[in-house]
């Protein structure tokens, strides 16, 4: 790697700075706007020391429903979807990994096709299902389509993880007299923990950010998830949007994700790359 390290470092610093500006500038602009008073947002002549305010945050947290409600809703949906996906995908992946090679290839192509499918096209029929089975306006019911939509990625990641385990391991545990349940719980699960963690964080992020299904399944304003709440705010009017409050909403909405990305960077990266590549 010596040649790579010997790269001119000043040119390097410039490129890294550009990358950071590109990635973060829009968020930083929102951050600044969120602390700027509504008058100062539209009047650059207001002197620097008079531009700042906390009113946007105060308004956001005292509105009805308060903004944290959307964060809570999104967390509930994302948490439920993550649990449901893992509960269904781990045993399924265990089985898929043991199928004869020919079958595995066929199922894998099917799963890959589903992973590629632009799922927004499904919303109309899913809405019908929600109506017929009274699944609308329920955060937990939303976990059903979400875990189905996240299932292809989960299966790709977890099947690859199971395939990576030595085959003798399962047989040895079986000979020891462990039941299937015990083997999964005490032998296999600890070994596929890294892949499960990657799957969990990606499913969580997907469910947290999902928009078209939530848009059509939820109508009660106290049940909206964050993406739908944001879009509803945006749809109010083009000309009279109180941008300060929305910048504050963007900042509050971004904080949980910023934390997740910083904490689980490794899992996200390995999940995304393995999901695409091993599939």
């Amino acid at each position: 790697m010596s040649s790579k390290r010997s790269w001119v470092s000043s040119r390097h610093a410039v490129l890294v700075t550009l990358l950071l500006i590109w990635s973060l500038a829009p968020m930083i602009w929102q951050l600044i706007s969120s602390f700027t008073s509504s008058e100062a947002l539209v009047n650059g002549a207001i002197p620097f020391q008079n531009r700042w305010t906390l009113i946007h945050y105060r308004e956001l947290l005292s509105s009805d429903p308060p903004f944290w409600r959307y964060l809570l809703n999104s967390t509930v949906v994302a948490g439920a979807s993550t649990v449901l996906t893992l509960v269904l995908a781990v045993p399924a992946a265990y089985v898929l990994a043991q199928l004869p090679r020919r079958w595995r290839r066929g199922i894998r192509s099917g799963v890959m096709a589903a992973a590629l499918f632009p799922y927004v096209l499904l919303f109309l029929a899913l809405l019908e299902l929600a109506r017929n089975f009274h699944l609308g306006n329920s955060l937990f019911a939303l976990a059903l389509p979400y875990s189905a939509l996240a299932m292809p990625l989960a299966l790709l990641l977890l099947t690859a993880a199971f395939e990576g385990l030595p085959k003798d391991l399962d047989d040895a545990a079986r000979l020891e007299g462990l039941t299937l349940r015990q083997r999964l719980r005490w032998v296999m699960l600890p070994l596929i923990a890294p892949a499960s963690a990657s799957t969990a964080i990606l499913v969580f992020l997907f469910a947290w950010n999902e928009y078209p299904i939530a848009l059509t399944w939820l109508s009660r304003s106290d049940l909206l998830t964050l993406p739908v709440a944001m879009a509803r705010i945006a749809g109010s009017s083009i000309y009279s949007i109180p941008y300060g409050a929305y910048a504050a909403a963007t900042v509050l909405g971004a904080i949980p994700l910023l934390l997740l990305v910083l904490l689980f960077q490794r899992q996200i990266v390995s999940g995304l790359t393995n999901g695409a590549i091993k599939g």
């Binding site: 790579k4 973060l24 265990y94 799922y119 096209l121 029929a125 990266v269």
Partner: protein
């Protein structure tokens, strides 16, 4: 019996992915709208005839394809540059990688709202700078050409990190010795990129292209919130058109037809792309 363990997961997928397509295929041969009291009535191929002559559908299909090709193309170039930068070892690399991942992790609708403020005329920062530099108002969200550029930019900003990560994983599989050997033979850095890096990266490039093209073809969240399809329908995507047919015009039969039509178009595009790749021999690089 253990095979049964896979059943719940596969069943759930079959219902959520499979049922809608069957339902749409059936609905696309029925009139099902406010006019029929939302009761499906068979209407032969009327929906499909309408689709064939629906200029808005074909306009949107063209716009969606153009959007997908241009934004994914830009993303690929930018992602390659960023991946090359992140592939090198330097202090703080992991923190920078995490921060550059942030755009991908944020909800699209949330940032679409943010972009509306950034591209606002006349108070947004871009307009302020343009104004100060004497370019006059750019009307970023009210002229078709500008709005289209802005939409592509927002999409590139959000999804480049995904391609970057895939390419980065690919770069890490290329042995350092190859570069050393190439340099020994007197090759420049640019030649190394063209003759070593890109050919070896090809499977990863194609993979990210496949994923991103499929996603970009279904673009919905960004456009619905950022532009609403406007101005004058100039940024409307197929998914948005299908959504409007269903949810605003309450014409479920035709909405289903638009979705099946869009899906068939996407499949045709992917097959066409694969065919082109096969003809140019690039697919041979797919075998690792």
């Amino acid at each position: 019996m253990t095979v049964l363990l896979a059943l719940p997961a596969l069943l759930l997928m079959a219902v959520v992915f499979g049922w809608p397509m069957l339902r749409y295929a059936w609905l696309s041969f029925h009139a099902d709208s406010v006019l029929t009291g939302l009761v499906p009535i068979p209407n032969g191929g009327a929906n499909w005839l309408r689709l064939l002559t629906d200029s808005r559908f074909w306009l949107d299909a063209g716009q969606t394809t153009r959007f997908a090709i241009v934004s994914v193309g830009l993303e690929l170039i930018l992602a390659l540059a960023i991946a090359l930068l992140l592939d090198q070892r330097w202090r703080g690399r992991s923190a920078v990688r995490a921060l550059s991942l942030l755009p991908w992790a944020l909800p699209t609708t949330m940032m679409a709202l943010g972009w509306r403020w950034i591209f606002n005329t006349p108070y947004g920062p871009i307009e302020q700078v343009a104004e100060a530099a004497g370019f006059g108002p750019l009307n970023l969200l009210s002229t078709p050409a500008m709005t289209w550029i802005v939409t592509v930019l927002a999409d590139v900003w959000k999804t480049t990190p995904f391609i970057t990560l895939i390419l980065l994983a690919g770069l890490q599989t290329i042995p350092e010795d190859l570069y050393a050997a190439f340099r020994l033979e007197g090759g420049s850095a640019f030649q190394a990129l063209r003759r070593v890096t890109i050919p070896l990266l090809m499977p990863y490039i194609l993979l990210s292209l496949l994923f991103r093209m499929a996603q970009a073809f279904g673009v919905f969240d960004l456009i619905q919130v950022l532009t609403g399809g406007g101005p004058a329908g100039s940024t409307e995507s197929l998914a948005l058109y299908a959504y409007l047919n269903g949810m605003r015009f309450l014409d479920f039969g035709y909405s289903a037809t638009v979705m099946v039509g869009g899906f068939l178009l996407l499949t045709a595009l992917i097959l066409l792309g694969a065919l082109l790749l096969r003809m140019t021999g690039a697919l041979r690089a797919m075998q690792p």
